[in-house]
């Protein structure tokens, strides 16, 4: 809104200046304006280049961000994996400690049992060795020896069980040790992978920071470009007004011509057969991810297709405009203009009268065989949607 207001103020000032200036100075001023326009076209081309670079930067930023996200996801996965291995290691460590304790306890028990067995066996069987024939012990001795034998046999079997348990525990222990070694090896490998990922992530972060800086720089350049385009637009409007003034000064035939496109004599025709791919009005730019105000439409057609004038009129401008390539402006009546941009070339000259449907130029060649025509219709200094007045296929 502010830009529009400024443009209106600038336009009013320019109109006021033009009103005060004598018609004799019109030719000089027109020349000056042309120079200014060429300069602006150059600026616009530069701005376009910058925009392309910015688009590339944004594409790279997007890629880098996606890579960063990927790295983060992989790093998170890696961390989870390492934490899992760590948990498993701690569980294995606990198991190992318990098993070692059990083995130690079994060893102690086994040693104790063995010692007891030895001393008890000596004592229990001492009577057998001491006496030949009648044993000097009574029935309590016999009973005690029976109990001792019984206990000793139980102890022997317990000793056997302890030995078997110990062997089993040792087998478990060696299994745990093997698993710990395996887990440690895996953990070391995962840590290595994690380190690598972290390094890559760091590099990617650095790259992203660089891209961010570049993006900021490009955004600033884009802002500057937009302001320049706005200025260019203002100047184009000024040309329009100037042309109108010239008409009025020259008392040409177009005075009192149609003020609306529907009133153009001979009617309106399509500039070429094609499909509208860029619509009129406010659109979201997919590359810059910003809202862009389109003042015309873009029609896709085969490369080299002939461009026809949409209605009867007079060529008021043929030349290059930044961002639009080769541009043709045809005046159809009082304040009615049709603008053809991004053309490969035009076959008409400024000041030449054209009829509706007359060939005025052709689309440029393209490797993919398709080119785009920019068509803008202006009525009383305002751009209107060409699809409203022309039968364009969408």
């Amino acid at each position: 809104m502010t830009v529009s207001r400024h443009l209106a103020v600038i336009a009013s000032c320019l109109a006021a200046c033009l009103l005060f200036l004598a018609p004799a100075h019109a030719a000089d001023q027109s020349e000056k304006l042309r120079k200014e326009k060429a300069r602006l076209v150059e600026m616009k081309e530069k701005a376009e280049k910058t925009a392309a670079e910015l688009a590339e930067t944004l594409r790279r930023e997007k890629m880098s961000r996606s890579r960063m996200n990927d790295f983060e996801a992989r790093l998170a996965k890696q961390r989870r994996l390492i934490a899992g291995i760590d948990r498993r290691l701690s569980i294995l460590g606990g198991q190992m400690e318990r098993t070692e304790r059990a083995v130690r306890a079994l060893d102690e028990e086994r040693g104790r049992v063995q010692g007891t067995l030895n001393s008890e066996s000596r004592e229990v069987f001492a009577g057998d060795r001491m006496w030949i024939g009648v044993r000097a012990e009574d029935s309590s001795g016999e009973r005690s020896r029976y109990f001792a034998r019984r206990v000793l046999s139980e102890e022997m079997s317990r000793y056997g069980r302890l030995t078997a348990d110990r062997e089993e525990k040792e087998r478990v222990l060696s299994g745990i040790e093997r698993r710990i070694v395996d887990s440690e090896r895996r953990m070391a490998a995962q840590v290595k992978v994690g380190d690598k990922l972290a390094t890559q992530q760091g590099e990617e972060k650095k790259r992203l920071a660089e891209i961010e800086a570049k993006k900021k720089k490009k955004a600033a350049e884009l802002r500057a470009l937009r302001s320049r385009i706005a200025r260019m637009e203002a100047l184009v409007s000024r040309i329009e007004r100037q042309a109108g003034k010239k008409e009025r000064g020259g008392k040409e035939v177009r005075k009192g011509g149609p003020a609306r496109f529907t009133g153009v004599p001979g009617g309106l025709v399509r500039p070429l057969e094609g499909k509208v791919i860029g619509r009129f009005g406010k659109q979201r730019d997919p590359v810059f991810d910003v809202d862009v105000e389109n003042r015309g439409v873009e029609i896709e057609a085969p490369s080299g297709a002939v461009i026809h004038a949409v209605g009867k009129g007079e060529v008021v401008f043929v030349g290059g405009v930044s961002g639009f390539g080769r541009v043709l402006i045809v005046q159809h009546g009082s304040g009615l203009f049709s603008v053809y941009g991004k053309a490969g070339g035009f076959s008409v000259k400024q000041g030449q009268a054209v009829a509706a449907g007359e060939a005025v130029g052709q689309l440029p060649a393209s490797p993919d065989g398709k080119s785009v025509l920019y068509l803008e219709l202006r009525a009383a200094g305002t751009a209107i949607d060409p699809t409203v007045v022309l039968p364009l296929s969408r």
Partner: protein
């Protein structure tokens, strides 16, 4: 009158010597009676052996105290068995640890590993291999019994030793009897020799030759009966006193109740006539020996 005075002729003529001899005889009777009674009560070495070598019925670990007591009662009812007592697993363990103190550490490894048992004491008079086998045959099939301990291979040796020991004891007693008889005989002979002059004098004055030794033998038998009765009384008193004070005495010889039981009174009753006969016989033999001695 002559006959009656002849009975007491020794007493009239040698009162002092007769008193000394009677004292010796009393002690000999006391010794013989005590040994005889001890042998009868103990069955020789059998009572001692039945006390030391008992049958043990080791019960299973699952057997409760009530079941163990029941087992003991059942075993005590057998005719070969003197007594049977149930011992709990705790008692088993205590006895076991007393026997093998080094094994006390085993208890720390778990609960009591030992079961209870029933200790069966055989009757001294049924301390034979057959009786042992009979008890084993009764107890072995019982589900509560894990093992019967009855000496195993040692038992037959023990019984053989026991039998020989008993024979030796009785032989020794017989020798002692013979020695006592010899002492009596010598006493009688010596007295008859000393009184031979008096006996000659009586014979010369018409006293029948056979009346003198018979009268003296009757007197000796009577005195012997009295002495043995006194000795037996003393023996019983001593036995009763000892059995009440010394537990070992009861274990080896017998208890107070058994001493006065009817089966043991009959041998006592036999001992007194035997002593009477022995004394009378010694008197006759001593007379004869003194008469045949060259003058």
């Amino acid at each position: 009158m002559i006959g009656r005075s002849l009975i007491w002729i020794d007493w009239k003529r040698m009162r002092g010597a007769l008193l000394r001899e009677s004292a010796v005889r009393f002690f000999l009777f006391l010794l013989l009676g005590a040994i005889f009674e001890a042998m009868l009560l103990s069955g020789g070495i059998n009572r001692y052996m039945s006390d030391r070598w008992r049958v043990t019925a080791v019960l299973r670990l699952s057997v409760t105290a009530v079941e163990g007591e029941g087992m003991a009662r059942k075993a005590a009812g057998l005719p070969e068995v003197h007594s049977a007592e149930y011992r709990s697993p705790e008692t088993s363990w205590k006895e076991f640890v007393d026997a093998y103190p080094v094994m006390e550490a085993l208890r720390a490894a778990g609960g009591n590993p030992l079961p209870g048992y029933v200790e069966i004491r055989m009757r001294p008079d049924r301390f034979t291999e057959g009786d042992f086998r009979s008890v084993e045959t009764v107890l072995k099939p019982l589900p509560e019994v894990e093992k019967i301990l009855s000496g195993g291979e040692t038992l037959s040796r023990l019984l053989r030793v026991s039998r020989w020991m008993n024979i030796m004891f009785w032989a020794g007693y017989c020798i002692l009897c013979a020695v006592s008889f010899s002492v009596f005989f010598l006493q009688e002979k010596a007295r008859a020799t000393l009184l031979s002059g008096d006996f000659e004098y009586l014979r010369e004055r018409g006293v029948p030759a056979r009346a003198i030794p018979l009268s003296r033998a009757a007197a000796a038998a009577f005195a012997g009966g009295l002495l043995s009765l006194a000795a037996m009384g003393a023996t019983v008193s001593i036995f009763i006193a000892l059995s009440g004070r010394l537990p070992a005495f009861s274990r080896v010889i017998g208890s107070y109740a058994e001493i006065l039981s009817f089966p043991f009174l009959i041998p006592w009753a036999l001992f007194i006539p035997a002593s009477t006969i022995l004394s009378g016989g010694a008197s006759l033999l001593g007379w004869r020996a003194a008469q045949s001695r060259p003058r």
